[in-house]
Subunit: 502 residues, 2 copies
């Protein structure tokens, strides 16, 4: 007879299977679904989501979990059983804390608010979205109350996306980062004429872009036998198994960067999922440790590797073979500088490495103030514009390129943006440790060899899946707490040299 733990695992596997099925329905909706299929797809997803939620939160699951915890008390730390029980307890507690009427209200508001937001952004009409943001802030306050927190409500929201991260710590990290970034940015901007990136804005045939991108990520270690690439308007990575991890890309026929770096970014997410230990397949541990850790892997390959000089030493000649006309009048060094041009802009998703985190800080500070009631929803556009001017010296001329630019809030998601910055910090912190362990990694990169770097990430990050919380994982991997020092060192070295800051 199977024990209670095995029964629990069976139940959690069904929960995972339902999630994977819903994931495929989402993937199809973003890639291949004909336009007529939308309404039926929404109903299908609602059914799967409801059944998955019931599977996780049913009293039977609660009883099984308790029984399994008793049965398997004292399992060794780091073992599959130990981690499964710990994460199942966390998931069960989080999911059962929300009353059913809250869950359905949130789903309804999310669904409607996204449509209102899309129209509001298109029409530059913040006023029509404001009542919905009001409701979302209110629902987020209630979420924090349901979830509970030690110091402040925002802690509860953060913890949903980045387990263990607390607001006070994040504030301190951001303050330190900003006080170093702003002078660095000022110095760079004083020399902004040094870099010309016009080479990136030319006609680039989509088929050749796709072929080049796929050849690069194959070199990096993305396995197409266990994945594939398709096109989607809003690129994403999705996983239905550690042996079926798919990426999506959007091609711009007149701008090389989005698909090129987007492909590296999504491949970074995907290699994380493909690198999870096979023994975790089918368990609730077969995913990333957190959004921040996940983003560390996408940023690693997109930026730390993919915008590095050794990387372009190897790939520039190949890219020029693919696009001989477009790249006829530029050399390796010029191209390297072009893909690293710093240019404060209004739009987060187009930001360079130096300014990206300042965009996040604007959102973080507004979220904190909205949640605390220190900022009225009606005043958010002005607060946004002021913060942008303060940090980035640019000011949106309307709300479409300001407070309305991101979908997240309309999705009912507050406390999510900081994970992007955590990912940036961790990408440099993990890379620094990998290079400390294997100092020839940059030289290997210059030869198009990525096995040792990927191997280090697999050994120290990927294989664990969700066995550990991010804090535990990072300390084990790097011997240091999560911090911004490596990232600052990285940015300083890179941009001082490109912009000759001496």
């Amino acid at each position: 007879l199977p024990g209670k733990y095995e029964e629990l695992c069976q139940r959690l596997a069904e929960y995972s299977n339902l999630g994977a099925a819903a994931g495929l329905l989402h993937w199809d909706q973003q890639t291949y679904m004909p336009s007529g299929g939308g309404p039926a797809r929404a109903r299908q997803l609602a059914t799967l989501t409801r059944i998955a939620h019931e599977t996780l939160t049913s009293p039977e699951t609660g009883g099984l979990l308790e029984a399994a915890e008793r049965e398997r008390e004292g399992e060794p730390e780091g073992s599959v059983a130990w981690a499964t029980l710990r994460m199942a307890r966390r998931d069960y507690e989080q999911a059962t804390r929300f009353p059913a009427d809250y869950v359905s209200e949130l789903a309804r508001v999310r669904s409607e608010a996204q449509e209102v937001w899309a129209r509001a952004r298109a029409a530059n009409d913040y006023a029509s979205f404001a009542p919905w943001l009001e409701r979302i802030v209110e629902l987020s306050r209630r979420a924090a109350d349901y979830l509970g927190y030690a110091d402040e409500p925002y802690d509860a929201l953060l913890d949903q996306y980045e387990p263990g991260l607390v607001t006070a710590e994040l504030k301190a990290t951001f303050t330190a980062l900003r006080s170093a970034l702003l002078p660095l940015l000022k110095a760079v901007l004083a020399r902004r004429t040094e870099v010309d990136d016009s080479v990136l804005y030319q006609p680039y045939a989509v088929d050749a872009q796709r072929a080049f991108g796929e050849s690069v990520i194959r070199d990096l270690g993305y396995e197409f036998e266990r994945g594939r690439q398709d096109e989607a308007v809003h690129p994403f990575t999705t996983s239905f198994s550690i042996h079926d991890v798919r990426i999506t890309t959007r091609f711009n026929p007149n701008w090389l960067s989005p698909a090129l770096f987007g492909t590296l970014h999504e491949a970074g997410h995907a290699m994380y999922e493909q690198g999870i230990a096979r023994e975790l397949e089918g368990t609730i541990l077969a995913s990333g440790a957190s959004l921040g850790v996940h983003e560390s892997q996408s940023r690693l390959w997109e930026n730390v590797v993919g915008r590095s000089r050794p990387f372009w030493h190897h790939y520039f000649p190949k890219l020029r073979q693919a696009f001989p006309e477009q790249l006829a009048r530029i050399d390796e060094e010029g191209f390297y500088r072009a893909v690293n041009k710093v240019s404060p802009s209004l739009i987060r998703v187009e930001a360079d490495e130096l300014t990206y985190n300042l965009h996040i800080m604007v959102r973080f500070e507004l979220e904190l103030a909205l949640l605390a009631g220190d900022l009225a929803v009606g005043d958010a556009p002005g607060a946004w514009a002021d913060k942008m001017e303060e940090y980035l010296e640019v000011r949106p001329s309307d709300d479409t390129e300001g407070v309305l630019q991101d979908v997240h809030w309309s999705m009912g998601v507050i406390g999510y943006f900081p994970t992007y910055s955590i990912g940036n910090l961790l990408s440099a912190q993990l890379y620094a440790k990998a290079v400390a362990d294997h100092p020839t990694i940059p030289e290997q990169t210059a030869r198009g060899q990525f096995g040792q770097l990927l191997g280090w990430m697999r050994e120290n990050v990927h294989r664990f899946g969700r066995t550990y919380f991010p804090r535990e994982l990072v300390e084990q991997a790097t011997g240091q707490p999560v911090g911004g020092q490596s990232y600052l060192d990285y940015l300083r070295a890179k941009y001082s040299e490109i912009y000759d800051l001496g």
Copy 2:
């Protein structure tokens, strides 16, 4: 408060949503899934199938069904409520008659037997498959007992796929058909040199094949806003909503027929699903009336229209534009004859219209004898070969091209093959009535206009979905019972003329 009927509909909608989700997982598996994804996909499908089965067969569903039947007694015949209750009762009764251990045994045997069959077919090793066929025959006998039947066990199996069709009637239909087909075939074969189809076996670029096929089915009335075409090794049509009905095709770069007629065939299935009345969307009535009625629509467009002289009068010039070199030395008439060449062969899926049903009769007679115990599983290869020789004057040289050629039996499916012939008969019967109502349909076809024919099918067949049983539907549509006379008239007229039988 919603009534019991509305509650039942809500429950059946969830059942349909789970089925649609499973359908998408299957579609993806056959089209885009990377090779590594198989094992996880099987687990995901098992979860969805189990939950869907439980949703349909739970005591709550049974109670709701009874209460809804009481609540809605006397609903007018043909109304959505009347049909929903009638079909829900049928589905519920069928699904609940099988004990749980039978269902899981059948699933296990199916899954293993398919793998054994695939190896056996590849190795021409019937002996290794025989024990599995033995089990499948035994499971089919049990299925008939669980389902119940009036005259003979095969009735119960047939009824699963073609509701209302009984064995005695099918025997009579087949006997009459065969006694007319065999002399016709003999006469054609005496003149077999009259037709040369070598033009079809040349290199045909796949992209041009795809473009031509898509342009034709767009003309026919297949709506790409509510569907799409992808490639699959074993082509099929699948529907996730009446607004999302997808077809698949397999291209042979050196043979024009499979993709060309396969696309018409699948589009026929798909236009049926796209033509279901919008008010049936999301109900259990939003599918075809039976496999036979479904096949009538695929065969109508593939054969009755797609291999007709008026059709090629319109399309041959267009096809020659797409393939000028390949078709340089043939004219419209020669091409029309090429796509209608009669050639008795060993393989069902390659059979022409005249011999196709003889392949089905071989299978039907073997199934009857196996089920009755009149034929031992070990003797099936010989019986198969003898029947093929008797009906088609060809004899398989091994079991791979004989008794092992079809996947169906290994899937645990006995009683399914006859629906292919029912589809052939109905394709001609429905077309004859449409032309009787609108005598200019052939002339319209010769101008590439299909709206009146499709409109007739929509009005008399498609819109009803699964509101009626096939017998009711066909009698309403044609004023006649299901029969073979139209089909025989059609074949006689067509082949007498092509082969100049006088």
